[in-house]
């Protein structure tokens, strides 16, 4: 238990010390305090799960038993029947004081295990320390048996047999990218327009499917012809969707029944009894019907998210809660006053907590790349309505206020800023940042709408519905705009582009000829030769990843199949196709660019010190890099200090950055997703900069193998942006944030003491205006002092609740590895 401040410590004193977590404890309701502390945090501490966290073996066992039983069914039907069995038989629970229910494991401290996703992950789980439920020996035997059943038969195994073997080996080396090319793991967009805006409960969707089947049967029972042949498969898919929807309704009603049993047989407190009966009614009504109260609206959404996560390991949580829950909030809180604002705030806080507790077993690369969390739950707030008017409302404020009360590291918020946002809302946004949450990130709404239309051809109204598909990428929530499955394996470890250009495509860390042989860099005579090699390596790296994802997406209905996700998507309900099928999808793909800025800084250093000033030769450089700079310290310092670095408004290096991005953008239009759309770059990092620190070799920016990489996106290297925040913004402003890529992450650290009080708010607001005027699409802030962070390193027990922005997500500072902590402290604190 963390050490508490003295009871008589005033809020003012705590504010002065910026110990916002104690203020939150004082201010939140008893219910929220209990529920917040009740959470078993599933994010890994560095790469390890916290003590007490165990893998759930019940659900994989139930699923496997039925999967084996229904082995003669096609994939989607087989999955639906197996999942229905899980939903009917898995243990469920209701936490004391809870008003919202649903979890993806059978007990609060369990991690879900996607047993049919990848043999590698299954084997990793078997070998993982600490996560087997007691008795350990029996659990090991059970896991070994399950692994034996699935070995060679998981979604990734099936895809690996179809991929080009060279691509498979290189992708699975872990050197150039991460993620898995299957909907068993990934980021699934939800068709919120279909469920919430159009008000379809699951019973309504069942009616729609019945109508579709009826029409289809007119064909299959009519005149024979080739056009009716695909319809047979579609009917099977519709059957699968129906099974899932009925099973989901029954699953929710299991909670209703439990709540009613508790109210009638166990609960003695009349107030709690009333709450349980309301919970029972809520779970009777949703998801069967469209929600009619605010609580039902939140519960419907949460059931949808949990059910999708029971179907697959989903790594993101695209959502726009202040927009889609506003109608019921407005009805209950503002118009009819059925509940008070405080009661609504409790529900909002709990809604966030219910998401915070969600977690599945992830492979080590995912844990290290997302230290402290189990997925990027970036919820979208603010923005505009379809007609372009301001969409911010009182629920936007409630989410921002609840976030400061519950202080969870996941979900976080991305705020769609636009010029019409009211000052009242901006103040609440700023308060969250000032309280050290690291969120909301600020997104430039008009620019990103333009970007969505530019790259993927979303019509204006559709583009205006966008949500964060994962950390950063805007994706609509409509029938054709929603991206049902972003497979994260188009995530490029971009620093390898320059590394391979310098080493003739050979990877000295994984000991493999990875990229094309672009020539011995020792013999390069001009910068253009090096840049040409870089361009070739860049194209090869992106192509390898994109080929893998494209095939994964195309084959997914055969290799995995998503009956539930299909059933909540208008496109699939209408067509009878698995929603992961690219048919009818506008296409909203992007290549996530980890470790991107190292390319610009490295190329600039070689250009200046080798080709322009001729202070060193390529031989010197290659010798130094091959020795990881050992024995070349003075030279390394020259490459760090005498070469221009991105983020200082220096045209030499900024020009190289823009040139690199334009090369990628050009290539992005040459490669296509399964829907025929482009693959723009999106530089950002999560904590991949630490995960890859021992996988990327020495680089000409002076970095050694093992050193942390930059914190990502287009953020300057930590401590290398020496000319102040305006220079950072000006450098970033040289990028065309519409045409050069999909989005560009920028981390900035601000001084909490400078930004205290009203003056601080006005300074920050002016900064945001400059940021917008320069045409940037993203910025996120850490506003926790070095002093607090260093104190937290020394005494983690006392600072359990300190949150920091890592990159694209937030985490509790004590949950990230020492190297990541140091990397955050090293970032320049900008005085604005």
């Amino acid at each position: 238990m963390a050490a508490q401040p003295a009871k008589d410590t005033s809020t003012q004193e705590l504010e002065q010390k910026q110990e916002w977590w104690w203020i939150a404890e004082k201010k939140r309701s008893k219910r929220l305090d209990y529920l917040r502390k009740a959470v078993w945090k599933k994010g890994a501490l560095g790469g390890n799960y916290a003590p007490g966290i165990k893998v759930d073996l019940e659900i994989p066992q139930l699923f496997t038993n039925m999967w084996n039983f229904w082995r003669y069914d096609p994939p989607m039907l087989r999955r639906a029947k197996s999942m229905a069995h899980v939903l009917e038989n898995m243990p469920i629970f209701i936490t004391d004081h809870a008003q919202l229910v649903g979890y993806m494991g059978t007990l609060p401290h369990t991690l879900a295990w996607r047993v049919d996703g990848a043999t590698m992950v299954n084997e990793e789980l078997y070998n993982e320390p600490g996560v087997m439920p007691e008795p350990e020996q029996a659990s090991l035997k059970r896991v070994a048996d399950l692994n034996a059943y699935w070995a060679g038969n998981t979604a990734v195994d099936k895809l690996a047999r179809v991929l080009d073997p060279e691509d498979a080996v290189k992708f699975l080396s872990g050197a150039i990218g991460w993620g898995a090319p299957t909907s068993a793991y990934g980021y699934s967009g939800k068709d919120y327009e279909f469920m919430f805006a159009q008000r379809h409960g699951f019973e309504d969707i069942l009616d729609l499917i019945d109508q579709s089947i009826e029409k289809a049967e007119d064909l299959t029972m009519g005149n024979p012809g080739p056009e009716i042949l695909p319809v047979y498969d579609r009917i099977q898919n519709w059957d699968a969707m129906k099974i899932m929807l009925n099973a989901a309704i029954a699953y929710a009603r299991r909670y209703a029944r439990l709540a009613r049993i508790l109210a009638e047989h166990y609960e003695t407190d009349p107030k709690r009894k009333e709450e349980l009966l309301r919970l029972a009614q809520t779970c009777e009504n949703v998801p069967a019907k469209a929600p009619s109260t605010f609580q039902e609206s939140l519960q419907y959404d949460h059931f949808v998210q949990i059910l999708a996560r029971l179907e697959a390991h989903e790594g993101a949580w695209p959502a726009r809660p202040d927009y889609y829950h506003w109608p019921m909030y407005e009805k209950d809180v503002i118009k009819e006053k059925n509940i008070t604002r405080e009661e609504a705030l409790d529900l909002v806080g709990e809604f966030m907590i219910r998401a915070y507790e969600v977690g599945g077993f992830g492979p080590r690369w995912a844990r290290e790349g997302l230290q402290g969390i189990t997925g990027t739950w970036v919820w979208t707030l603010g923005g505009v309505n379809k007609d372009g008017s301001d969409a911010c409302n009182d629920l936007t404020l409630a989410f921002l206020q609840a976030a400061r009360l519950v202080r969870v590291a996941n979900p976080t918020f991305g705020f769609r800023w636009h010029p019409k946002v009211r000052d009242e809302v901006m103040r609440e946004v700023f308060e969250c940042i000032r309280h050290g949450l690291g969120y909301p990130s600020i997104r430039n709404d008009p620019l990103l709408i333009q970007n969505a239309m530019h790259w993927h051809g979303h019509p204006l109204e559709e583009a205006r519905t966008w949500v964060h598909q994962a950390c950063m990428s805007p994706c609509p929530t409509t029938k054709h705009g929603v991206q049902p499955m972003r497979m994260a394996s188009a995530t490029a470890n971009c620093a390898k582009m320059v590394e391979y250009a310098l080493h003739n495509g050979y990877d000295h860390v994984v000991q493999m000829q990875m990229g094309p042989k672009t020539g011995d860099a020792r013999k390069f005579k001009t910068f253009d030769e090096l840049f040409a090699a870089w361009t070739t390596q860049m194209k090869w790296l992106i192509n390898t990843l994109v080929r893998t994802v494209n095939l994964g997406r195309y084959k997914d209905p055969e290799f995995y199949g998503r009956p539930f996700l299909s059933a909540i998507s208008e496109r699939a309900v209408e067509s009878g196709l698995d929603v992961v099928s690219p048919v009818g999808d506008r296409g909203n793909c992007w290549v996530t660019g980890f470790t991107w800025v190292e390319n610009a800084d490295s190329l600039a250093a070689v250009k200046k010190l080798v080709f322009d000033e001729k202070r060193y030769t390529m031989d010197d450089l290659l010798n130094a890099l091959e020795n990881n700079w050992n024995g070349y310290e003075q030279m390394r310092r020259d490459f760090v200090n005498d070469a221009p670095k991105w983020g200082n408004d220096d045209d030499f290096v900024d020009g190289i950055m823009v040139r690199c991005l334009q090369e990628v953008a050009k290539h992005s239009r040459e490669i296509k997703c399964p829907s025929g759309n482009s693959w723009p770059l999106l530089p950002e990092n999560v904590s991949g900069n630490i995960h890859y620190s021992s996988i990327v070799g020495a680089l000409p920016n002076g970095r050694r193998l093992g050193d942390a990489l930059y914190d990502g996106g287009i953020s300057p290297g930590p401590g290398l942006d020496k000319k102040g925040p305006s220079a950072v913004l000006k450098s970033c402003g040289k990028i065309d944030h519409v045409g050069d890529g999909r989005a560009f992450l920028l981390n900035q650290r601000l001084s909490p003491s400078q930004l205290a009080g009203e003056k601080g708010y006005q300074l920050w607001k002016a900064y945001i205006r400059t940021w917008a005027d320069l045409g940037l699409d993203h910025v996120q802030f850490n506003m926790v002092s070095d002093e607090t962070l260093r104190a937290a390193q020394k005494d983690p027990e006392k600072y359990q609740e300190v949150i920091v922005r890592v990159a694209g997500y937030s985490a509790h500072f004590v949950d990230i590895s020492r190297k990541t902590q140091d990397n955050i402290i090293q970032r320049t604190v900008q005085g604005i």
């Binding site: 502390k37 299991r254 166990y266």
Partner: protein, 54 residues
């Protein structure tokens, strides 16, 4: 002891041979009620303790 003999067993109205068995769990972080569907005639495992309610 069989599930059907427990006061924490609640048979399904459409099939009394099946029902929900409710357990009270207090773990290091939270207290909760857990339920799982069981067969009325199955034996209650030793680790599923009876409880009297709150």
């Amino acid at each position: 002891m069989k599930y059907k003999e427990s006061k924490n067993f609640f048979p399904h109205s459409d099939n009394p041979q099946r029902g929900d068995f409710v357990e009270r769990v207090v773990d290091p972080r939270q207290a909760y009620y857990k339920v799982k569907p069981v067969n009325a005639d199955d034996e209650i495992p030793a680790d599923a303790a009876e409880f009297a309610g709150k």
